[in-house]
């Protein structure tokens, strides 16, 4: 059934009347849900979350990027280990000495699902569409520093930025997708949102979207990566309840799931017919945004005391059973920007916490409201909140937990109404995205922290312009030193990507550090 079809009132009434008999309409509404191709494998995966769009320039649900990234590709991608590598580009870009011009050479063997050959013109078109304010692309602000995109030749494209801003390369992997030139004019917005058949270069061609059920794809026979994908049909099922995802896996209804229940993960992956894996992501940060403009977080020693009073290992191991990597700084242990000494400088130390509290404006302790969202996203933070409440009570700090539905939580957060808010957020695997969002002026989460950090801003700007990794490491180390000194917020850890799969049907799979697992690579 077309997803843009609007039945008449007559059809609606007939449907209701027919449904009163209970069964009459089912043949008419029969779907491809259980149809199997004549040959070849169908890979079925189950992920949580509710997709609202497949349009890559408007997609923000991290889990459902697994769907859009099956259809669309970018110039660059992250490999499973979190290293950037070329995708539609033939090689990593050459960058001008002033770090504002990026030139990409493109692959010559790529075709869109509609048969059109991919070229620089499509890249230019896609980015210009994204950047045009009239198109109201949700992801436009992320790429706002791109001033111009030029076609040098059919296989070479150039980006000119308004200022040095290296992170934009990483943001492509999550916040963008290349579509054919002219496709936006040739198709309605609903096509990009709900039924993007023929519009990408990726391993899967969109087939069908059944709301609250699944999205299906068929194999792209002309995919430029020869031999991939190994499946003939891909079905991504939407299953929000974690125990039901496991039930589907155990009963063989799905082949692979994401976000398994942490408590059962070790047991399940040891079962004879299942396998599993997990690894810390580079961008899934779990932190407490402490509002520096509201007591008691208006005192730096109090904030430091909180950081030192939280035993992150207990949370990681007892609450999340190892599916969280503890981190007291915005850097996971596996990241190139991780600095062990800064991490240790902010880590659990009860004596230090008590000492800092004694030196703060609140030597006798204090209380604060910790807002948390009710619904899990990547991780359920409620249990961790209870543990933190207990840990902070040891230094005389009383935590009042305020649970609310995510929309309510987030609306209050962005307005700066919370004393402290704790939640999980996901970014591409690079060091600056969350820092920009929370700790720099006029960004989405600025008011959740209200941090005034000119030194940090200056270091960030240096980092944007630095593409030598060793030099960038030093810059981010200096930045973390500032964060240790100022402790504008409290980091708890980095979430793991975790997957379980059936051995009988999934022979090759590597857990992706980006959490959004790539369906292309499942064999």
């Amino acid at each position: 059934m077309s997803t843009t079809q609007t039945p008449t009132r007559r059809a609606l009434l007939q449907a209701a009347a027919g449904a009163g008999a209970g069964l009459g309409l089912q043949p008419l509404l029969g779907s491809l849900a259980n149809a199997q191709p004549a040959s070849g494998k169908t890979l079925t995966v189950a992920i949580p979350g509710v997709p609202v769009t497949l349009d890559p320039i408007n997609l923000t649900n991290h889990d459902w990027m697994a769907a859009s990234q099956t259809i669309y590709e970018n110039l660059i991608e992250f490999d499973v280990n979190g290293e950037m590598r070329p995708q539609l580009a033939a090689a990593m870009p050459t960058v001008s000495p002033d770090k504002t011009t990026y030139t990409f050479d493109l692959r010559d063997n790529v075709y869109f699902h509609n048969g059109k050959k991919f070229s620089a013109e499509d890249v230019k078109y896609s980015y210009e569409y994204l950047l045009d304010p009239a198109n109201k692309a949700v992801r436009r602000p992320v790429f706002a520093r791109i001033e111009k995109v030029s076609v040098i030749n059919p296989l070479r494209v150039e980006f000119k930025l308004s200022e040095p801003y290296g992170p934009w390369l990483a943001f492509q992997t999550k916040c963008m997708g290349i579509f054919p030139a002219g496709s936006r004019e040739a198709n309605s917005p609903d096509v990009f949102r709900n039924a993007p058949a023929g519009l990408g270069t990726g391993p899967g061609i969109f087939e069908e979207w059944k709301p609250n059920e699944y999205i299906s794809f068929r194999r792209n026979p002309n995919y430029w990566r020869k031999g991939l994908p190994s499946w003939e049909r891909l079905v991504i099922r939407q299953i929000n309840e974690e125990s039901v995802r496991v039930a589907y896996l155990l009963s063989g209804q799905v082949d692979l799931i994401s976000a398994p229940p942490p408590r059962d993960f070790e047991r399940l992956k040891k079962m004879a017919n299942l396998s599993g894996g997990s690894r810390a992501t580079l961008g899934g940060w779990f932190a407490i945004n402490t509002n520096n403009s509201k007591p008691p977080f208006d005192d730096v020693n109090f904030r430091k005391a909180i950081s030192h009073a939280i035993d992150r290992d207990v949370i990681a191991n007892k609450v999340y059973y190892g599916l969280l990597s503890p981190a007291a700084m915005p850097a996971p242990k596996g990241a190139w920007w991780y600095n062990e000494s800064h991490d240790r400088a902010a880590s659990f130390d009860l004596a230090k916490a008590q000492d800092l509290l004694a030196r703060s404006k609140y030597p006798k302790g204090a209380s604060f409201d910790l807002a948390i969202p009710a619904e899990p996203y990547l991780l359920d933070v409620k249990d961790a909140a209870l543990v933190i409440q207990s840990q902070l009570s040891k230094i005389g700090v009383k935590v009042n937990l305020k649970v609310s539905e995510f929309q309510v939580f987030f609306a209050a957060a962005v307005k700066g109404e919370q004393q402290a808010g704790m939640f999980v957020n996901m970014s591409p695997g690079e060091p600056t995205y969350h820092l920009q969002n929370s700790l720099t002026p006029n960004q989405l989460l600025t008011k959740t922290v209200n941090y005034d950090g000119p030194e940090m801003l200056a270091l960030l700007k240096q980092g944007f312009a630095e593409d030598d990794r060793e030099k960038a490491k030093q810059i981010y180390s200096n930045l973390q030193a500032v964060l240790v000194r100022d402790m504008p917020m409290v980091w708890v850890g980095f979430v793991h990507a975790a997957n379980l799969w059936r051995k009988a049907t999934v022979k090759e799979f590597t857990v992706n550090q980006g959490v959004t697992f790539s369906c292309r690579d499942v064999a």
Binding site: V50, T60, K136, N212, E213, V244, A247, F406, N437, L444
Partner: protein, 316 residues
Amino acid sequence: MLRMLLNRLAFSILALLFVGLLLFVLTRGVPGSPARVALGLEATDTQIAQFEKDHGLDRPVVEQYIRWLGQLVLHGDFGRSFVTGRSMNALLTETLPITLELVLFAFAFAVAVALPIGVLSAVYEGTWIDHAARIFAVIGVSVPGFWLGLMLIRFPAVEFGWFPPGGFVPLSDGLVAHLQSIALPAFALGVYYIAILSRMTRSGLVETLGSEYVRTARALGLPRGRVLWYALKNALVPVVSVGAMSFGYMFGWALIVEYLFNIPGMSNALLTAVGQRDYFTMQAVVYVFTIIFIVSNLAADLLNRQLNPKLASAQP
């Protein structure tokens, strides 16, 4: 009869108008904007304001309501979701049959089990049959539906493999597979109402079996079965009324069952819509539920008139 139907129609229209307005006010009073869902967490205040302007969400609630109502009455159009862009009519066409089938199965199952239990319990009042039925009823109303659903998934589905753990298989894919996919959810939904209806049946039947006209019928030598049938007909009047209300309530309970068993029905769509602040979906689904509630109560009244002709003459 005609007068009764016209009265009910007028009342129903008033009820729908009231429900619609209440929905509008309540949904728009909840914190959080659908803009944030549609545009993403990183939407700026400017983007959100523009979105609300584009979709008329910055207009007064009454104006929005009148516009929506006009579209519904004049064009039969429930509108389009401004979160997903989908037509509400299409959504209802896809999801209503699924939820309706689930509820009908659950209701039929509940009635088919509850009536015999209630009758046996009444006929054998005070015996072990009556006590067993009472215990079953207490368990039935006490067991949390969510837990029951998880147990059904855990054992009959995963452990024994008799049923799928979730999902909905349409009839076009095979009758057996279709029935298997609906069996566990229908059971989970119907158990609570078996308890309610069986107790109602028992209470009503015990009372009528003790009444004078039944004793007279027995004394006159009428067969036991016929006496029981006469008594049951009179005892069923309150049961039918409660049954009709239960049928309506089942659509609400179906929300939990559909979520748990991953059934793409209307109740599941409502749950998603609440989280997304998808006002049009919420309004469309709740409106349909209200209509079903009204129709089922009307059907119950008509059936009761057949069961007890005194009601037909007593009511306008």
